[in-house]
């Protein structure tokens, strides 16, 4: 594989490599939806933190379609899908010790979540 030439360094740094994908994928969720995080425990790579598994939150934003880290880490393709900004009440994650009005946001791939109550 070729070495990165010095004359390409500035352009590379200023451009980067977005994980956003142009595939037309229908979103399964919309802002306002209540979603529950699936209780996934893969032996492989995942961007789903343990503390959120099984917890319920509210979709606040559709971030668009992104390459799925969990498959891309293992040569299993991009599996493009929507990522959602999901809001959790701190008390739903940590119980009564958390401050009543505090919240936490995660960006969750569609594969990580299901409609609340299913």
């Amino acid at each position: 594989m070729p070495a990165l030439p010095v004359e390409e360094v500035d352009g590379l740094i200023a451009t980067g490599a977005t994980a956003r994908m142009t595939d037309a994928v229908e979103p399964r969720f919309r802002p306002g939806d209540h979603v529950t995080v699936r209780n996934l425990n893969p032996l492989t790579h995942t961007r789903l933190p343990r503390y959120a598994r099984g917890k319920t939150g509210t979709v606040e934003a559709d971030r668009g379609v992104f390459c799925f880290n969990d498959t891309n880490a293992h040569g299993q393709g991009h599996k493009p899908q929507h990522v959602y900004g999901v809001r959790f009440a701190a008390r739903d994650l940590w119980g009564e010790q958390a401050a009543a009005r505090d919240v936490l946001y995660l960006d969750l791939f569609e594969d990580y979540i299901e409609p609340h109550g299913t």
Binding site: L12, I13, H45, T46, P49, Y51, N69, N72, A73
Partner: protein, 103 residues
């Protein structure tokens, strides 16, 4: 994987201790590791998800005790070896050779 890297919510990790006027790199080798990461990543030797997962597979005690750029060194070295760009024997041999020379 349910690894030690998944730290959110853990107790007992100690104080945060921000370093006043912290330099970007703390040692010359950290500079080199950072630069090598960017160049080998740009060279297509691995993607960022493979890189993160290689860090997650570090020995957990080593992960917690080592400086940050050692995580990067571990991931880069293991992926470059896995992809055949380097061999462990080459690295050992070069280390032995360099150890005899002044830095």
């Amino acid at each position: 994987m349910n690894g030690v890297h998944d730290l959110g919510g853990m107790h007992g990790m100690g104080p945060i201790n921000p370093e006043p006027n912290e330099p970007v790199f703390h040692a010359p080798w950290e500079r080199t590791v950072f630069g090598l990461f960017i160049t080998t990543f740009a060279g297509g030797h691995f993607n960022v998800d493979e890189f993160r997962h290689a860090i997650e597979r570090m020995d957990p005690a080593h992960y917690l005790r080592s400086p940050y750029y050692e995580h990067w060194l571990h991931a880069m070295e293991s992926l470059l070896v896995q992809r055949g760009a380097l061999t462990p024997d080459e690295i050992d041999g070069r280390m032995a050779q360099l150890a005899k020379e002044p830095a």
